[in-house]
């Protein structure tokens, strides 16, 4: 059975001046353990797709089902909990919290899960060790390089042990060498830990390395 099912998803953005149909009747399924890349020109709706898949945004039409749960049936509280337990996000511009240290940033998902301080520290240190940042625990995001920031973000995405990782152009702000390191990490998360990954990318080579490529144009799937 598919882990993620998007069924006839449309997303219409309405502002005062214009209406944008960011997604137009999109169907997509992702199986457990798959590494899927999403490609397409800028503005074609990739981020919108990922946000809807990650339950950060609601579709105008259609249904999202993740691991058997229908997203539209979840209330605010269950939604927060569902995101916390099942989804890990990685963004192009990292979105770390500047006022918190590296260790604190990684602990964020664990705080909302209600895990005690000592166990949080241990869990966060363990994943930071895996991404090679155990010597930067007390640093703040502004004191790190882009590659280091993205590794912190990856640590934060996986620390709560979610089944699904959603990555929106995770290497978009990094040079190719650092980008390759990040890709390595993602592949390890997929093959070693069996996590399902959906990644938006502009890089054909990176996409070619994944299990499947989904292409978009103007809010529609073309492949």
């Amino acid at each position: 059975m598919a882990l993620i099912t998007l069924d006839k998803i449309s997303k219409l953005y309405r502002t005062k001046e214009i209406e944008t149909l960011a997604l137009d009747n999109v169907n997509l399924t992702v199986d457990p353990g798959e590494f899927v890349s999403v490609m397409g020109p800028s503005g074609c709706g990739k981020s919108t797709l990922l946000n809807i898949m990650g339950l950060l945004d609601r579709p105008t039409e259609g249904t999202v089902t993740i691991d058997g749960s229908k997203a539209s049936a979840l209330g605010d509280r269950e939604l927060a909990r569902f995101r916390n337990e099942n989804l890990g996000f990685i963004f192009q511009s990292f979105h770390l919290i500047e006022s918190l240290s590296v260790l604190d940033n990684v602990e964020v998902p664990l705080i909302y899960r209600g895990i005690g301080a000592r166990q949080r520290h241990e869990m966060a240190k363990e994943v930071l060790d895996k991404v090679g940042l155990s010597n930067r625990l007390k640093h703040h995001p502004s004191q790190l390089s882009g590659g280091q920031c993205q590794r912190v973000a990856i640590a934060r995405a996986v620390v709560g042990n979610p089944k699904i990782i959603l990555a929106d152009e995770p290497t978009g702000n990094l040079d190719s060498k650092i980008g390759a390191e990040i890709m390595n990490l993602l592949h390890r998360l997929n093959t070693d830990d069996g996590r399902t990954i959906v990644m938006v990318t502009h890089n054909e080579l990176q996409a070619a390395d994944t299990d499947r490529v989904v292409r978009f144009f103007d809010g529609r799937r073309t492949e």
């Binding site: 981020s47 946000n51 990650g54 950060l56 945004d57 605010d76 509280r77 927060a80 909990r81 995101r83 916390n84 337990e85 996000f89 963004f91 192009q92 511009s93 979105h95 770390l96 919290i97 500047e98 006022s99 918190l100 240290s101 604190d104 964020v108 998902p109 705080i111 909302y112 899960r113 301080a117 703040h140 934060r156 709560g160 929106d168 152009e169 978009g172």
Partner: protein, 424 residues
């Protein structure tokens, strides 16, 4: 969430520094406003020590010899004394009247008699109240004995003229329990007086605290009987305002005897309202409360402004937090914790600064004149007083700050993560 709040505060210390400074200044100002207001409200709500319901009074004047209504034959002392007695009897037996007494420097009057009592070592200011011997003064006011005497006994104590009756806090000043103090002598106006009775504490003016009081049973000769006031209690179930309205004419007529004629009939409530008005008490209370409200609004606005300015950044953070499992409630609580921590710290600093002043100049008190003995309460105990007012100020500051944060926090907490997490 407290930990995150602490870290946010620390990382935003430049922004919050200004707010903290404002809150420190406001908490010092809070002391200046709240302390006297709290003390005044506390005293205003203490028991009067007598029963002010169903009390009314009538003042009687005499025509001067220059008046056309003056009667020379009614002016000799025997007639005056006789007419005085007739007036008192008339009012005492008037339908609806339970009892009546004649007082000089009455309770809740404009003028008061600030006397003094002294021992070998000390002097205390007391409010003196004189009443006519033989009239049921204590029963009319509802002032009770606390020295073991019955009300009837208390009524008859004090004659002949060297006896005085004191209030409980006067006994407290003299360092004795009410029962132990009976028979003790104190100096009063160059004479020795014997303490013959002790009553509960009384607030001679509703605009002030309960004072040390002395009650002196005076003879007619000691009182000025050209002009005097009769205070009377109405029977149970009679409304004083109605009584005064309905009986004004009848009383005017019946109490115009010889040269005597009534000049003013009014309820105790009217008398009290007038006193409070002329002494600016009601105004002082209103100003105090107004200032406190103004100050709270100011504080809330300062906080709203500061948090509002950060809305964009905080909304960004909130979006991230939500993507990783925070509920709107978590976001609001974290922001409010920031406010609580900031308030508590600035409250401690502001209060510590004010304490330096208070240790030298004292806290708000009921009396700023020396020699008044103020009965021991939390107000007179420095540290209890400081602690209670400090906690009231903390509570007020927290209300203002929490409201000030909550208003913008609701907006921040409601942001849509998809909007704030856009990658440009």
């Amino acid at each position: 969430m407290i930990r995150i709040a602490l870290k946010n505060l620390w990382s935003q210390r430049k922004v919050y520094g200004w707010l903290a400074l404002e809150l420190i200044i406001l908490s010092i100002l809070a002391w200046v406003i709240v302390d006297p207001t709290v003390v005044r409200i506390y005293y205003a709500n203490q028991p009067l020590g007598y029963d002010s319901n169903r009390l009314a009074e009538i003042s009687i004047d005499s025509y001067p010899s220059t008046s056309s209504k003056y009667s020379a034959e009614a002016a000799d002392s025997a007639s005056v004394s006789d007419n005085f007695n007739r007036i008192l009897n008339t009012i005492s037996s008037f339908p609806g009247v339970e009892s009546a007494t004649v007082v000089s420097y009455e309770i809740e009057g404009h003028s008061s008699w600030n006397g003094g009592l002294y021992t070998d070592t000390d002097t205390v200011s007391v409010t003196g109240i004189m009443y006519l011997q033989g009239t049921p003064f204590f029963a009319t006011y509802g002032i009770k004995p606390v020295d073991g005497h019955s009300l009837k006994e208390l009524q008859e104590l004090g004659y002949p003229s060297d006896g005085i009756i004191i209030s409980e806090s006067t006994a407290q000043w003299l360092g004795k329990k009410p029962k132990e103090i009976l028979g003790m002598t104190v100096g009063e106006n160059q004479t020795e007086k014997r303490i013959v009775g002790v009553t509960n504490d009384v607030r001679p003016k509703s605009v002030g605290p309960n004072n040390t009081c002395m009650f002196i049973p005076a003879t007619k000769e000691n009182l000025s009987i050209e002009y005097f006031t009769i205070v009377f209690r109405l029977k149970d179930g009679i409304d004083p305002a109605k009584f005064v309205d309905e009986n004004r004419n009848a009383l005017n007529e019946k109490l115009s005897i010889g040269n005597y004629h009534p000049v003013e009939l009014r309820t105790y409530a009217d008398k009290s309202a007038e006193l409070q008005y002329t002494q600016g008490y009601t105004n002082a209370n209103r100003i105090g409360i107004f200032m406190a409200v103004f100050y709270l609004i100011n504080m809330a606005l300062g906080v709203i402004g500061t948090v509002w300015l950060q809305t964009r950044r905080r909304a960004g953070e909130a979006g991230i937090m939500k993507a990783f499992g925070a509920r709107p409630h978590h976001i609001t609580v974290t922001l409010i914790w920031e406010g609580i921590i900031l308030t508590s710290v600035t409250w401690i600093l502001g209060s510590a600064i004010y304490l330096q002043y208070a240790l030298r100049k004292g806290l708000a008190t009921a009396r700023y004149i020396n020699h008044w003995y103020i009965p021991k309460t939390w107000v007179t105990d420095f540290w209890t007083h400081f602690g209670i007012v400090a906690l009231i100020i903390l509570a007020l500051m927290l209300v203002a700050v929490v409201i000030g944060i909550w208003i913008p926090a609701r907006r921040i907490a409601r942001v849509d993560p998809a909007v704030t997490l856009k990658d440009e």
